[in-house]
Amino acid sequence: MTTYYTEEHEWLEVEGDTATLGITKHAAEALGEVVFVELQEAGETFDKDDEIGVVESVKAASELYAPLAMEVLEANGALEDNPSMVNEDAEGNAWFYKIKISDTSELSNLLDINAYKALID
């Protein structure tokens, strides 16, 4: 399993051509208390940079974008019922999607942990 990051502060834990996707702890802290999450449904397919969800905090609304071409296998419905999970465990239980990656060669465009750390420092 390899974990990738994006400049949009998302993380992807990849295993073969599937991945778990969420927003980083850094992003959750910057957003402040998350009060609303809206997700897409399983079976939907997206191109890179398509909007795949909305996260709203007490401060602002921000959109979640597809880091690469993907299909939603499962959405984490628990987040819609309990949005504060994002603040509590952004890189664990508060994952947003299980996805199928359409073309794994796109992973080479993403950041590794060191590149992401350099970005947020």
Binding site: G32, E33, V35, F36, E38, V54, E56, S57, V58, A61
Partner: protein
């Protein structure tokens, strides 16, 4: 743009973990380490300390100041007794609102507090009157919440004797300050005008009280929104009239009837015939916040207005919005749709506020 200015409390904000942002040309804390929701609840349940030194504090002196101010504002100042403050606004010749402000009769002068972004405009505007207008270099803090009286009166006992909208000179730790029992959160509390060189020590002293914590602009905004209080530039501006904005209460009867203020023609017409649109509370169903700019549609899909302020209310525990809708759709209980990210979402017109105001009358 020039470099944002800092209030005398800047270093204390940073020390307390304030996340500093440029607001109306001032570096101000949007929140501290506790976060917006916790700071909001702290204010509703105990008390919160806000730095509002970015607002303009002005002294007016001269002959017949009250009478002259009435030529710029639709409120009555001549009957306002010494020691009493009043909410008002400058109107423009078209009956819109140039800014909202607090005017206090301080006995031998009038004391005025105006919005940070409107300081220069408002001071120039008051200088058109034949009076002496002095901008004060003083800090202003707000102590707001049910514990505010105990916290402030521990140092300045007179604070406990003031009622809502009363103001007095007092001493805190040997420093002369002006304490006014008012605020912008819907809670009981005070705004305290303090010499710049003493404000840090006084804030540190007040913060030794276990029920007082600092709160930033984020909580200030969610608190005032739940309390149904207008934000200049969002909910009221040069196009909106006081009648549309439900501010008739700030225009005393004599002034409404006699006119004699800028824009009286439109304001008196709207008072007689009703305005074409009204500022209302809008409660989104579900959990999705509806923020500024979201369009409001009737059930047939016609656009009837838009949201001017909206977000999440931590005490209300749900999304809260306010905005203008055409008068035909402004009745309490009317079902509307909010167009959020292209999708209509149901909402209901409610009577403001979302959270009851808790003033000491």
């Amino acid at each position: 743009m020039s470099e944002p200015r800092k209030t005398p409390l800047y270093d204390l904000h940073v020390e307390l973990g304030g996340k500093m942002v440029d607001f109306a040309g001032w570096m101000m804390p949007v929140n501290y380490t506790a976060g917006v929701a916790a700071e909001h609840k702290q204010c509703r349940e105990k008390a919160a300390l806000f730095d509002v030194s970015h607002m303009g504090q002005v002294e007016l002196r001269g002959e017949n100041v009250a009478q002259k101010l009435e030529t710029l504002c639709p409120s009555s100042f001549q009957p306002l007794p010494a020691g009493k403050a009043r909410y008002t606004f400058f109107t423009n010749p078209q009956g819109g609102i140039m800014d909202d402000l607090i005017v206090a009769n301080a006995g031998d002068h009038h004391f005025v507090v105006v919005n940070a972004s409107m300081r220069d405009q408002d001071i120039a505007h008051m200088r058109t009157l034949d009076i002496e207008v002095t901008e004060l270099a003083r800090a202003l803090i707000a102590v707001q919440g049910p514990a505010a009286e105990a916290i402030v009166a521990a140092h300045a006992p007179i604070a406990a004797e003031l009622t809502f909208m009363q103001t007095a000179i007092a001493e805190i730790a040997g420093v002369e300050v002006r304490i006014s029992r008012l605020g912008y959160t819907g809670e009981d509390g005070y705004e305290i005008s303090i010499p710049e060189e003493n404000v840090v020590e006084i804030c540190r002293l007040l913060l030794t009280h276990p029920d007082l914590e600092p709160a930033g602009l984020g909580a200030r905004d969610s608190l005032r929104l739940e309390a149904g209080l207008c934000l200049y530039g969002n909910d009221i501006d040069n196009d909106t009239s006081p009648v549309e904005a439900n501010l008739n209460w700030a225009m005393q009867k004599k002034r409404r009837e006699e006119g004699g203020f800028p824009g009286a023609e439109r304001i008196q017409r709207e008072l007689a015939e009703g305005p074409s649109r009204k500022l209302v509370g809008i409660k989104p169903e579900g959990r999705a916040p509806a923020r500024r700019g979201v369009e409001v549609a009737d059930e047939a899909g016609n656009i009837i207005g838009s949201i001017t302020s909206g977000g999440f209310g931590p005490t209300y525990d749900g999304p809260v919005s306010m905005g203008y809708v055409s008068t035909a759709h402004a009745a309490e209980g009317t079902s509307v749709n909010l167009i959020i990210r292209g999708k209509p979402r149901p909402a209901t017109i409610i009577k403001l506020p979302f959270v009851a105001q808790n003033y000491k009358r």
